[in-house]
């Protein structure tokens, strides 16, 4: 952690792909803390979307969540605005607790949009599942830095992390940094990361059925980012998050 007053640099692992130059004047120690009481469940959606006045700059959301024994925390997020936006989540899981995270970044120009998570399995039998999808074009960048820590006695931990990046244009980029620190021996930790482009075969197949390239692209992107919100049980919330992401894409087309 950088000292108070000093800005982080890209040498800091957690800020490696960040637009650190955009942090000037931004309060960095502004963490929001949430505690989910034993056996409780909470869900929250974080949306970074265009501001009403059209201004843009830097937005940081920093959440520190403690999920007590048997409790459940679900976070879903879309980052579809700002020159630099970062949603950072630190979660500590009690025995048998669950953390669910679905995140989507979309963006073009030279924007940087990122998720940084640190999930601490502090007690046995907790589960976590993280799904991040990033769609970028222009010189846009999407990042997912995901750390999973499993304490020595946190046996029967089951943690999963999935990242997929979709680059619509040459010049866009995504970075995935999965980091697993496992000190227990009876755990399941799965992680996967892929980067690709739109499936040309699927695009031609869709065109051959009469879909314009724009509609085909929208459908394919919708299917791609949909993965992140499969676990979101509230249909209207799911539609809202999808709309924020897809509207941004539509305006680019």
């Amino acid at each position: 952690m950088p000292e108070a007053g000093a800005l982080p640099t890209r040498k800091d692992e957690a800020w490696r792909y960040a637009a650190v130059e955009a942090l000037q004047g931004v309060p960095l120690d502004d963490w929001r803390t949430i505690t989910v009481a034993r056996g409780d469940a909470m869900r929250e959606c974080v949306v970074v979307e265009d501001r009403a006045d059209g201004a843009e700059g830097t937005v940081l959301h920093r959440l520190r969540v403690t999920v007590r024994e048997g409790a459940r925390c679900e976070l879903f997020a879309v980052i579809a605005a700002e020159l630099y936006a970062r949603v950072e989540i630190e979660v500590t899981l009690g025995r048998g607790a669950h953390f669910e995270f679905g995140g989507v970044t979309v963006g073009g120009r030279d924007t940087v949009r990122e998720f940084v998570t640190r999930v601490v399995h502090a007690e046995p039998e907790a589960t976590s599942n993280q799904t991040v999808r990033s769609v970028h074009w222009g010189q846009g960048t999407g990042n997912f830095l995901g750390t999973i820590e499993v304490a020595r006695h946190a046996q029967k931990t089951d943690a999963a992390q999935s990242f997929k990046g979709l680059l619509l244009e040459k010049g866009a980029s995504v970075n995935a940094v999965p980091q697993l620190e496992i000190f227990a021996d009876d755990v399941k930790c799965a992680h996967g990361a892929t980067v690709g482009q739109l499936d040309e075969q699927a695009r031609f197949y869709m065109a051959a059925r009469g879909l314009s390239p724009e509609v085909a692209r929208r459908l394919l992107v919708q299917a791609f980012i949909g993965d992140a919100f499969v676990a979101l049980d509230d249909e209207s919330e799911r539609e809202r998050l999808m709309r924020v992401a897809l509207d941004k894409l539509d305006r680019h087309l």
Partner: protein, 253 residues
């Protein structure tokens, strides 16, 4: 309906079609047969406008319109349906959504009103029943987890829903067992046997032609049509093989 004149095409700079000419009138069913590598699939992809298949000479018109000037999705809207040898899987997009978007895109470009959800579902149900495909399959993602036979039947359901003027069916019979072959054959007849429609079947085998009786059978070899006859030509091929049937032509070449 379809007029192909002296068509030349290359794939990755390799000439595949070398002066192919073919006229298909409304109400007719044509079959193209030919040994591996003759250019059968290339012909279907060139007519569909697949990227990477470059036309280097000749012309193709569909009902008098220059087909080669159109984008793939415009060709579909003009009434062309391409049945794929290997239908493409599109995870995350349901058949119902895909086909409704496709149909309504085509209708829009023809200046017709879009079908409502209810109207579309009724149409889809009718066509699925025709091909003995469980309606539940249409709620699943496009071709994902379908067997080879189910994919081919789903292609024919798509054709029924989209109601094209000209269907080019590339090895629609491959991968079908005997019962499925009959169902697909009957489906093609039910959907496409009409005075104002036409079919071009591309196949290796005579057996589909027992169900969908062609008016003309053409042999494609080395990028050109080298022999044309009636259904008896397909039977002769099945009996004697390409080498024997084409021997007289080869002798004159």
């Amino acid at each position: 309906m379809l007029q192909i004149e002296n068509l030349h095409a290359t794939v990755a700079d390799r000439p595949i079609l070398k002066g192919l000419s073919l006229t298909i009138n409304a109400g007719e069913v044509h079959a193209i047969m030919g040994p591996n590598g003759a250019g059968k699939s290339t012909l279907s992809y060139v007519l569909g406008g697949r990227p990477g298949y470059e036309v280097t000479g000749g012309s193709v018109t569909l009902e008098g319109q220059d087909l080669l000037e159109m984008d793939p999705h415009e060709r579909a809207a003009a009434g062309l349906f391409l049945g794929f040898q290997y239908p493409v899987e599109i995870p995350g997009v349901s058949n119902v959504q895909f086909l409704r978007e496709a149909l309504n895109s085509q209708r829009k470009s023809r200046g017709q009103e879009p079908l409502s959800g209810g109207e579309f579902l009724k149409l889809a149900k009718d066509k699925a029943a025709l091909l003995k495909l469980d309606m539940d399959m249409l709620k699943r993602h496009v071709n994902v987890g379908f067997s080879g036979g189910e994919k081919k039947r789903a292609e024919m359901v798509q054709m029924g829903i989209l109601d094209p003027k000209l269907a080019i069916l590339d090895e629609t019979d491959s991968g079908l067992d005997i019962d499925a072959l009959r169902v697909v054959g009957q489906g093609i007849n039910a959907i496409m046997r009409a005075p104002d429609k036409a079919v071009l079947l591309i196949t290796h085998y005579q057996r589909l032609l027992e169900y969908v009786r062609p008016d003309y059978v053409h042999i494609l070899s080395q990028g050109r049509i080298v022999k044309t006859g009636g259904p008896e030509l397909a039977q002769a091929l099945e009996r004697e093989g390409y080498d024997a049937v084409m021997a007289p032509e080869n002798a004159n070449a």
